[in-house]
Symmetry: C2
Subunit: 274 residues, 2 copies
Amino acid sequence: MTRNELISLIKERKSFLCVGLDTDLNKIPQYLQGQPDAAFLFNKAIIDATIDYAVAYKPNLAFYESMGIEGLVQLKKTMDYLHSLDKKAFTIADAKRGDIGNTSKQYAKAFLDPQGDFNFDAMTIAPYMGEDSVTPFTAYEGKWVILLALTSNKGAFDFQFLESDGTKLFERVLQKSKEWGSEENMMYVVGATKADMLADIRRIVPNSFLLVPGVGAQGGSLEEVCRYGLTKECGLLVNSSRGIIYASNGEDFAQRAAEEARKLQQQMAAAMGL
Amino acid sequence: MTRNELISLIKERKSFLCVGLDTDLNKIPQYLQGQPDAAFLFNKAIIDATIDYAVAYKPNLAFYESMGIEGLVQLKKTMDYLHSLDKKAFTIADAKRGDIGNTSKQYAKAFLDPQGDFNFDAMTIAPYMGEDSVTPFTAYEGKWVILLALTSNKGAFDFQFLESDGTKLFERVLQKSKEWGSEENMMYVVGATKADMLADIRRIVPNSFLLVPGVGAQGGSLEEVCRYGLTKECGLLVNSSRGIIYASNGEDFAQRAAEEARKLQQQMAAAMGL
């Protein structure tokens, strides 16, 4: 999906909501547990309930990998379902990959290749190994790297704020990575729990899309994120995972997910003045 | 596998060789290509040919993921085979994972859990997200985190050498991570292409095991690695991937792999004085 297509989708749905599919078989409603394809059936119900309010879905690879090979089968069914819908959505493999060039090329093939099992639009990438670990992912037309800049967790303070020559590590990642891609194929992860840093970040990447996790269960505020992060073309994808998909663990889970997604969508429409 | 068991294995085989299973269906011998279970059959032949000269095997996850779900089936067969052998080996998931705590916990379950599909002894982890992204992997008894410190690629120079308060980022990773684990459950990736940095690294982690990629195809020197990296309990696992597994792409590939592994093992035995 190109940048323009993504911006059109955001305007059309009046939403920049990304629903995180952190599907955990211990947390889905009991009546689904133990059914064949339980993870896929859960995801399908969540997607059907939220797609009018969301523009993106972000399966968290860890949750599928922890189910073993069967988990990847469930992920493939989820992706096939998303690709089959008339209502389009931007798809993100939350994979946090990154390795030497010839290995990153294989990860790109695994998740972004249109002929592959998954065909995601984007994937999250860790920056520690530098340029040749990132650029293989931008080689696919219309596909995106979402580079970790400032993450939402406590451990972000261990290294991401280290300063050299007056520049923090996450700022250096933003600056340096502008040489590796463009606003058309590179986004950044910026945690909502550190929304006060967004003004600084916007000085480095004024127009780039930011993927913002941490609203909801992790404590970030949507209002703060919008105040400092919104651009005139939106420039944000705000993710909520647990706050939507586990809003209820009863048979009303999909309806409750829709309600939570709709609440966020309405706040987002208001923030964009739509 | 505990540290003592690993040290015993190294002494017994007079080797600290790790064979990287970067299995690429386009590079394996033509007569195997297109056969069912080609990747597993290739790995099995490599393992059988090299296990007398190697103490560890390191499947590179990217190469299996790039084959789609079928690739993970091939990986599971490979791991099941390794676990079935009387001759033991240390197994490393070269996965470069790392995410917020509750997600890292899922990755740990995916690759380290004895009840899971793979049951690796260790996995490689990227440090960018800090403590809570790393510690879930040390929660499994007898299992190891192998944290990226100084990688073997060109992109290592983008961020890993950035200095703050006189300390380079990779040195900070080494220092900080000593609070998260011990010499019994944490190793570090240090690229052989930067062997001259090993003396500095040994000042920070004098006894820790180092996993050293980059000997062979990437240009690193085993002699240099040993000069600066060996400890009295060895303290090294030196990886070779392409130099062994693709030593020949003919029907003699396993025999040629054995020869290359044996050459390295003999140099290693000499370096250890065994």
